[in-house]
């Protein structure tokens, strides 16, 4: 199988984080809440609102269409230090929110593994974090937002106002309209520090035991070695933490200084270098248990320290694969998929394992549900990665799970429609002007790769 041709000359104007696929598109920036739909008055192409391009695949792409870049629409609108309710324009990044809120003693209610995503993008993908088991998804903490449709109509959406559009827009991949502002329920903190504990585990049973023991701890996540087999199969480090309750100085974060400077050559990442990395990571934690006080930056955003770290994967880019499998089959499904990945010999640096909790998301199309989720990174090797992805997606489906659109560039229309059987109900809320390359791919309008 070869990469599909995209007839692209020169680098694309907008790339997803996985740098695949690469499509032409025209960028139209939105700077003000009144810009849309006026800026597209004389344009008849389809459009898609986008933010920081941190989703891995084509949910943030629209081949030969218009990308409405929202990052200039990043103003604060209101903040109430009594209630912690923050209202801001949708193009603000979580990093900008933290810069403002942390010195005032407030933190994000839910954060993903990077702070370089927009508020609008966090809603549209209904992102989750290390506290899913206690806090649910990001959408659970969005009390209201404004949705602007291409016909110029403006809707306030909340659980009680336009509740159907509220549900469709959370996790709605930017297809229901442009979110201009949103209100987020922040949570109080008294310190930047996290009471951290790292615990080695061997095998999924030990992981599940640790998960059970830590269900009252706010943040839990595990790194798992997917290159080892035999007695080291599914070894990993279980990481947990709570915001420190000891009062401490609440300074803003320093700006990151490291930038991955060039595209690494394709041979830089191979199975040997990755398994060495994994062994070092595992044994870096020499003791079975490590307890520490850690700043929230390295705890939540270890990779944000190096801007453009995705260049490590070279120009051809990377693919992510993230599933959730419900508890009924979570253990056998995870073991089977880990074995399949180890057998394939396709390297994965970061394999992140977590148990989702049962807090329901308000989103109609949200990805998380109770069970085990695993996220894997792969460098793109067309001959091998796509067949492996097809196998893993089929296995996920057999175990009753589903894949995360924000991480995907490969699932077929049939797989998507099995994962999200409610997609036709959702399609009724889509704005007729808005679409994405992902949506065209998984609803069968375009041939799948």
């Amino acid at each position: 199988m070869s990469l599909p041709s995209t007839e692209l000359e020169g680098p694309p104007a907008f790339e997803p984080w996985g740098r695949y696929p690469k499509y032409n598109a025209r960028i139209v920036p939105l700077h003000w809440r009144g810009d849309f739909p006026a800026v597209t008055d004389k344009i008849h192409d389809s459009a898609l609102p986008v933010g920081m391009g941190r989703s891995y695949g084509d949910v943030c792409l629209l081949k030969d269409g218009i990308l409405l870049l929202t990052t200039g629409m990043n103003r604060l609108i209101d903040f109430d230090p009594e209630t912690g309710l923050l209202t801001a324009e949708a193009g603000i990044t979580l990093a900008q929110i933290l810069d403002f809120a942390v010195p005032k003693g407030f933190f994000l209610p839910v954060t993903p593994g990077t702070k370089y995503v927009t508020l609008g993008g966090a809603i549209a993908n209904d992102i989750h974090g290390k506290n899913h088991h206690v806090a649910g998804t990001f959408g659970c903490h969005i009390t209201r937002f404004e949705l602007v449709r291409s016909d110029g109509s403006r809707m306030i959406c909340s659980p009680t106002e336009n509740p159907d559009y509220y549900a469709a827009t959370i996790g709605g991949l930017g297809l229901t309209g442009v979110i201009t502002w949103a209100t987020l329920q922040m949570k109080p903190i008294v310190s930047r520090l996290i009471d951290y504990e790292g615990i080695q585990f061997h095998g999924i049973d030990e992981f599940l035991d640790l998960t059970e023991q830590s269900k009252n701890i706010e943040y839990t996540v595990s790194w798992v070695d997917v290159t080892s087999t035999g007695k080291n199969f599914a070894r990993g480090v279980f990481m947990q933490g709570d915001h420190s309750s000891k009062r401490d100085e609440l300074k803003p974060s320093p700006k990151p200084k490291l930038v991955f400077p060039f595209d690494a050559p394709g041979f830089a990442l191979n199975s040997l270098s990755v398994s060495m990395f994994n062994t070092v990571f595992f044994h870096k934690q020499i003791h079975k248990r490590v307890v520490a006080l850690q700043d929230y930056e390295p705890f939540f955003y270890p990779l944000d320290k190096v801007l453009h770290w995705n260049r490590m994967y070279g120009k051809s880019g990377l693919l992510q694969f993230q599933y959730v499998i419900p508890w009924e089959h979570a253990k056998e499904g995870t073991a089977a998929i880990l074995r399949e990945v180890a057998k394939s010999g396709l390297a994965s640096f970061l394999a992140v394992l977590k148990a989702f909790g049962d807090v329901p998301s308000p989103g109609m199309m949200s990805f998380p549900k109770p069970g085990i989720t695993l996220a894997l990174d792969f460098p793109i090797k067309p001959e091998k990665s796509f067949p492996l992805f097809a196998r893993l997606a089929d296995m996920t489906r057999e175990f009753g799970g589903r894949l995360y659109p924000a991480k995907d560039a490969a699932m077929t229309a049939a797989q998507y429609q099995a994962f999200y059987p409610q997609w036709q109900r959702f399609a009724r809320f889509r704005d007729p002007m808005l679409t994405s390359s992902f949506w065209e791919r998984v609803t069968g309008d375009q041939p799948s790769i």
Partner: protein
């Protein structure tokens, strides 16, 4: 960043063209330091959005006036009202301006005249009032956005460039006159910066980050500098550009 101590009197800053990208980014820094701001811009809706943001970020006071600064007759009343609202003025920041359409300006004098009026005539009117206000009090900073494009006329934007060249020359002369009266005049020459004005221009992703530009401007004002090229590499670049002999320069495609 030199933050004003919380107990000090907040600095009083008048911002003309407050919804421009560079001005807004600069005001965010001042707001987080607790400054008092008076904002003037043409579009009421945009001005309200910017004012709300600055208030949330910690500005001690945010006053606004909707005005078209092309209307020079209205300047004295507008400026008097602004200075009254702020109960004085420590810094005036002139940030309004238009890029204009070079191609159309080559054919149509009215387009060219509009660019020159907005970027040169209007600031001259504002600065005449403001400089005399500051001289009377023997204090104040007048920080004005000019452009590297004013350092030498180029075929791609010489109408805009010449309006900024005129402005830079006016500021140099004004500084020469009033620096000895205790008034600082800062000429700010930003290179291409990612803002709404430059959105969609080719290679705009390579332009300077607006927050970094704003931080340099705040520092230059605090340091009472005379001239600021920002980012700093534009200083040697423009030195070279100015040094090229005209007989060679006229053949270049710049």
């Amino acid at each position: 960043m030199s933050a004003t101590p919380q107990n000090a009197t907040p600095r009083r800053i008048l911002v003309l063209g407050a919804t421009s990208g560079i001005a807004e980014a600069t005001c965010r820094i001042w707001a987080s330091q607790g400054a008092s701001l008076f904002l003037v811009a043409r579009n009421a809706e945009k001005l309200a959005a910017v004012a709300a943001d600055l208030k949330v970020r910690g500005a001690s006071y945010v006053g606004t006036a909707v005005a078209d600064l092309d209307d020079t007759d209205s300047h004295p009343a507008l400026l008097a009202h602004a200075v009254n609202s702020l109960a004085g003025m420590d810094i005036a920041y002139l940030a309004h301006g238009i890029l204009g359409d070079q191609i159309s300006a080559e054919q149509d004098f009215n387009t060219a005249a509009q660019i020159v009026h907005t970027n040169f005539m209007a600031p001259v009117s504002l600065l005449t009032w403001l400089s005399n206000y500051c001289v009377q009090r023997r204090s104040g900073v007048l920080a004005v956005l000019s452009s590297v494009a004013g350092d030498r006329g180029r075929k791609s934007n010489y109408v805009y460039g010449s309006s900024k060249a005129g402005l830079s020359a006016f500021l140099a002369g004004l500084r020469n006159r009033i620096d000895r009266e205790g008034v600082t005049v800062l000429t700010i020459k930003p290179g291409p910066t990612r803002t709404a004005m430059t959105a969609g221009m080719p290679k705009s992703e390579k332009f300077a980050d607006v927050d970094a530009v704003a931080e340099s401007i705040v520092k230059a004002i605090d340091g009472r500098k005379d001239e600021l090229y920002v980012p700093f590499q534009w200083l040697p670049i423009m030195f070279v550009v100015r040094s090229i002999p005209e007989r060679i320069f006229k053949k270049l495609n710049l």
